[in-house]
């Protein structure tokens, strides 16, 4: 079928006015929390929608109900006009609703083909797999899906266990699984976190194709610019309520943020870029090398300067961050802080030297989720909180925690509450708070606003700027280019394990950065 015919068919179907999915007055309550307050939704075939809202606004709950993972407390769900208020996951799949989860939900020990083709088998068996698996069908389905997302579809690749593949490939496989069947609606939750610019552009073309074939798409994402590239309708939620449906291509980020948070936020540069002429640099890295990680890296950071470092996933930036933090060993090169050579052979040594590293993945590398906020904040500075008999003084610990909570504007019921009860943005602030409490000379942040809502992003940027004003050196490793452009004085781009170029942050744009990274940047919308 040519794309023109497809488009006409879709338009026809749409004009027949039965939306693929509708919700009426959907409510969900967990214990004492009213997560969804009467949400009405209409999703039409062949269109893209973006669920926009801060963490805790109810987006995930809504998705879980639509995909059958949870039941609503009251309200109706209609699919193709039929009432389906008792959906379970298999029921949702049968009805043509596929979900690509944020954590991918792949089965690591199964092969690529099995992961992609399993859903179809499950649906046919109504949730049961107790019968001979149609291996041929599984492979055929997988092959088609892999072709759609642009992954290799040869036998060898399809037989690879998924756990051996890099994260970017896994994300594409998860997407492939979602588009493998003839879905009416594909829900994608943060589908591009691990993808390069090139892969994102390809994904957007896949999305267009799906739309042409009549599939509806529902995205959950924090990347407003990406949403704009994809186009379609934006569904803004706040506090469990539906606020407004907008056209994402015609609403600017400021307006969207305002709708999401109810507040006006700063979206320009947070500071004027400083020129890097400080007499004595704070951090001096010379010819740092680590085996297969990175080679010959030399850079400096001045007091009060904010340096950004970016690059593709394989550019070596990740390894460089770990090396500076003392987590990964280096083979050659020196690191000097304040003019003196320092030892960063372990995280403890790095901390002692005055380096603080806020890790990439706050959930697995940073926070102690079931422990109280207080313990998470004070843990690196316990030595300073001793009272009588050298025992930890509770009062001092509480004071330090309260101060940190206040300074960083952390929203928390009580400092004894466990960190897992906080939203992503607040969790990140707790983590940063812990590191700031160590009074570091150099603050390194790796992906500081991943999975953080707009409101918290703003708060975190202000915190970073504050510290820089007070003389702290800051390095931000990130692949969120707007973030770097807003906050840094200089941006270093790494490519193929070396430093490729350095730019002053106020005189460069995303296009130039992408070029330096080695990614072919196509600006969507021109296609």
């Amino acid at each position: 079928m040519s794309s023109a015919t497809a488009k006409t068919n879709t338009a026809l179907r749409r004009s027949q006015a039965v939306p693929f999915l509708e919700t009426h007055d959907l409510h969900k309550r967990y214990g004492g929390v009213h997560a969804l307050k009467g949400v009405n939704l209409k999703i039409e075939r062949g269109r893209s929608y973006h669920l926009l809202g801060e963490n805790g606004c109810g987006k995930s709950t809504l998705i879980k109900i639509i995909s059958g993972a949870q039941r609503q407390s009251s309200g109706q769900v209609l699919i193709d006009g039929h009432e389906r208020s008792d959906l379970d996951p298999i029921g949702a799949l049968e009805a043509g609703i596929e979900t690509v989860y944020q954590d991918l939900s792949l089965l690591p020990n199964l092969t690529v083909a099995e992961n992609i083709g399993l859903t179809e088998q499950l649906v046919e068996g109504h949730g049961r797999l107790v019968r001979p698996l149609k291996v041929g069908r599984v492979r055929e389905t997988a092959r088609r899906a892999l072709e759609v997302v642009g992954l290799p579809d040869d036998r060898a690749f399809m037989s690879t266990p998924v756990e051996l593949l890099p994260i970017a490939t896994r994300q594409l496989i998860a997407i492939a699984r979602g588009v493998a069947g003839r879905a009416g609606l594909v829900i994608m939750d943060e589908p591009t976190t691990a993808l390069t610019r090139r892969e994102v552009s390809h994904l957007i073309s896949v999305i267009r194709r799906l739309q042409d074939e009549g599939t509806a798409l529902l995205f959950v994402t924090h990347k407003l610019d990406e949403a704009r590239e994809i186009g379609g309708r934006g569904i803004v939620m706040r506090d469990g309520e539906f606020i407004e449906e907008i056209d994402v291509t015609e609403t600017d980020n400021a307006e969207i943020s305002y709708l999401m948070t109810g507040r006006r936020l700063e979206l320009g540069r947070y500071r004027a870029a400083r020129s890097n002429v400080d007499a004595a640099p704070l951090l001096e890295v010379e010819r740092l090398t680590r085996g297969k990680g990175f080679e010959d890296v030399s850079l400096t950071v001045a007091r009060g300067e904010v340096l950004g470092i970016t690059g593709l996933l394989d550019s070596g930036r990740r390894e460089l961050a770990l090396a500076l933090a003392g987590i990964a060993a280096t083979d050659r090169g020196t690191i000097k802080l304040g003019g003196e050579r320092i030892d960063v052979s372990s995280p403890a040594a790095a901390i002692d030297a005055g380096i603080a590293y806020v890790p990439e993945d706050r959930l697995t590398e940073g926070l102690f989720l079931e422990k109280p906020i207080r313990d998470n904040i004070i843990m690196s500075v316990i030595d300073r909180l001793r009272g009588r008999f050298g025992l930890v003084d509770r009062r001092q610990a509480n004071e330090l925690t309260e101060r940190t909570v206040e300074d960083l504007k952390i929203v928390a019921p009580d400092i004894s509450a466990s960190v897992s009860s906080l939203s992503g943005g607040n969790q990140q602030r707790v983590l940063i708070g812990r590191w700031l409490a160590t009074d570091p000379k150099l603050l390194i942040l790796n992906g500081p606003t991943v999975g953080v809502d707009v409101g918290s992003k703003d708060a975190i940027f202000r915190i970073i700027q504050d510290q820089a004003e007070q003389g702290m050196g800051v390095i931000i490793f990130s692949d969120d280019l707007p973030e770097l452009l807003q906050n840094c004085d200089r941006i270093i781009v790494m490519r193929d394990r070396r430093i490729a170029e350095t730019f002053p942050a106020d005189k460069v744009d995303e296009k130039a950065l992408y070029a330096a990274m080695g990614a072919t940047a196509r600006i969507a919308g021109a296609a």
């Binding site: 309550r29 214990g31 004492g32 929390v33 009213h34 933090a325 987590i327 372990s346 995280p347 403890a348 790095a350 901390i351 002692d352 590293y357 890790p359 697995t364 590398e365 940073g366 926070l367 102690f368 989720l369 079931e370 422990k371 313990d375 843990m379 690196s380 316990i382 030595d383 050298g390 025992l391 930890v392 004894s416 812990r434």
Partner: protein, 330 residues
């Protein structure tokens, strides 16, 4: 703060303790609640309770931490303590010195054994279940080698026997010792840097390392302490029974783990409360005595311990709140 002190697990354990006593009164008659029986039961708790504290520390350290070598080390500590004491002091002439030499010898073995475990697990990176399985066999082997497999009789030393068995002001001295040690462990966990580091490490070892916690040193100290607790258990055993043997208390390995799990200590690490371990140990003792009073076959007891362990592992932490009706949203 308030709600944490009265957490559901603690209430549950208090309830179990009370329920068993009530059941005993109903099912077996007045002897169970006599002062003699309570003292008798209280004097049986410490040796197992001390081992359970050691297991608790190992579990808190995370990564499937456990200490299987407790009772073997306790027995070895008693044996070596005995051999040193009997070679140097005559108990009929200087009983106090004899006891002190015995105790010091036992504690020394606890230090050495604990250090061996700590080094294997903390610095050599051996998984604790394998390491302590190995050291359990090693300690047992040494104990058999030293004694040829037979029991070493300390003989009747009135001072020691009284310490082990005769209550003072109604409380058995070994039980008082156990409570004091439990308090010390609780204080250490709550108020020292080591305690905080231990909990965090058990909660998320990777984040702990990234945050500068000396993971290997904390692991070493954890198992080192467990070894010392085991040697105190060995001293208590000797006081109670006036003899030391390499195979005493083989059922204690499982029982100590059961006590820890029943106390809500998470086998994955990062959480455990001393007060719950104490109550759990007393609950198990009450149950055990109740079964004996009711003349239940000992196989039933083993079966019951097995069922309890599985139940508590399955539930991980009992939360009565899930049983109460949902509160209305405000």
């Amino acid at each position: 703060m308030h709600h944490r002190s009265l957490d559901p697990q603690l209430l549950f354990l208090l309830f179990v303790n009370a329920a068993v006593v009530v059941a005993a009164m109903v099912l077996t008659g007045p002897e169970f609640t006599s002062a003699y029986n309570f003292q008798s039961m209280a004097s049986q708790v410490p040796e197992l309770g001390l081992l359970a504290l050691g297991v608790m520390l190992a579990m808190i350290s995370g990564n499937g931490g456990i200490d299987l070598s407790g009772i073997a080390l306790a027995n070895l500590a008693g044996i070596v303590g005995y051999q040193i004491a009997v070679a140097t002091v005559d108990p009929s002439v200087a009983p106090l010195s004899y006891i002190l030499v015995f105790s010091c010898g036992a504690l020394l073995i606890g230090v050495i054994g604990g250090a061996i475990n700590g080094a294997l697990i903390g610095y050599a990176g051996v998984t604790s279940i394998i390491a302590t399985l190995g050291t359990q066999l090693f300690f047992t082997g040494v104990a058999v080698g030293l004694t040829g497999g037979s029991a070493q009789m300390l003989g009747y030393i009135p001072m020691f026997d009284s310490f082990g068995n005769v209550p003072v002001m109604g409380i058995p001295l070994t039980f008082a010792l156990f409570i004091i040690i439990a308090l010390a462990v609780a204080a250490m966990l709550k108020f020292t840097k080591f305690g905080t580091h231990l909990f965090l490490m058990g909660s998320n070892a990777k984040a702990a390392y990234f945050a500068g916690i000396p993971v290997r040193s904390v692991l070493f100290r954890t198992f080192f302490l467990s070894g010392i607790l085991a040697s105190v258990a060995g001293i208590v055993i000797a006081a109670r029974t006036s003899s030391v043997k390499w195979d005493y208390g083989t059922s204690y390995v499982l029982a100590a783990i059961l006590i820890a799990v029943m106390a809500g200590v998470r086998p994955q690490g990062g959480y455990g409360r001393v007060v719950c371990v104490v109550l759990s140990a007393s609950a198990l003792q009450l149950l055990s005595s109740l079964f004996n009073f009711m003349a239940l076959s000992n196989f039933f007891r083993d079966f019951a311990w097995g069922v309890l362990l599985l139940m508590f592992l399955a539930f991980s932490r009992f939360d009565y709140r899930t049983w109460l009706p949902m509160r209305r949203p405000s």
